[in-house]
Amino acid sequence: MNVTRRSILKGAGGVVALSVAVAAGLLKPTRVLAAWNEAGFNATSLADALSAIGASGAVPSPGIAINAPDIAENGAVVPVDVVVNLPDVESIAIFGEKNAYPLVGQYNLNDFAGFLSMRIKMRETSNVRALVEAGGKRYTATKEVKVTVGGCGG
């Protein structure tokens, strides 16, 4: 009787421990983008960066607006908002076109609701470019930012 009871308790304890471990695993999404796009981030021209992330041939779209300052006095901190009015957005990439390394950030998105903002460095006056994948198609938009003092060093 006692032995049976004990083994049942032990068994139950094992199940509890297992479910706690699973829950802990689910709460810690340590999985990140499979690989950092070495070729894309190390590309030193916009054309190379676009082709490295498979984004050549994107079409300009009025469904993307880039909100950034017309003039950035400090190129080290340029706020860039991307407002997307397109259905089924899957990814967004942001470029400082004349930066030493034009690709700044790349995002895969789920349940995206049309707004993404970050702060980027800009070496000199140039376009900020956003590339958006939506519904399996690629779209792009640009906004020129005049940079007074470059923010990339070098």
């Binding site: 709460l27 990140v32 901190v77 700044v104 995002y107 789920n110 707004f115 993404l116 060093g153």
Partner: protein, 95 residues
């Protein structure tokens, strides 16, 4: 790392040098690259954003974005990893 979530928007501010490897220090020596490469944001365990960053992200990186269907009380978590393998994470309930 600071995280705020509410009204469908998630905002993350990370204290990090975000050095691109191109800047020189006072004595003219290059400062080694030190920047965040990976950022992942999940709501109730479901990944809503997987990001890759380069050294062109400003010092003390800031990211904000809007997601559909986020409710008050939803658990929002952020995980980051930089090019030296250093990791950080934060979790907050949405307001």
């Amino acid at each position: 790392m600071r995280l705020r979530a509410g009204n469908g928007e998630i905002r993350v501010l990370i204290t990090h040098p975000s050095e691109n490897g191109l800047r020189k220090d006072g004595s003219g020596k290059l400062i080694p690259a030190h920047f965040i490469k990976f950022i992942t944001v999940a709501v109730n365990g479901k990944t809503v954003l997987e990001g890759n960053w380069g050294g062109g992200v400003s010092k003390d990186p800031f990211l904000a974005f809007k997601v559909k269907n986020m409710k008050a009380g939803d658990k929002v978590s952020v995980n980051v990893e930089d090019n030296t393998g250093e990791k950080g994470s934060v979790e907050e309930a949405a307001r």
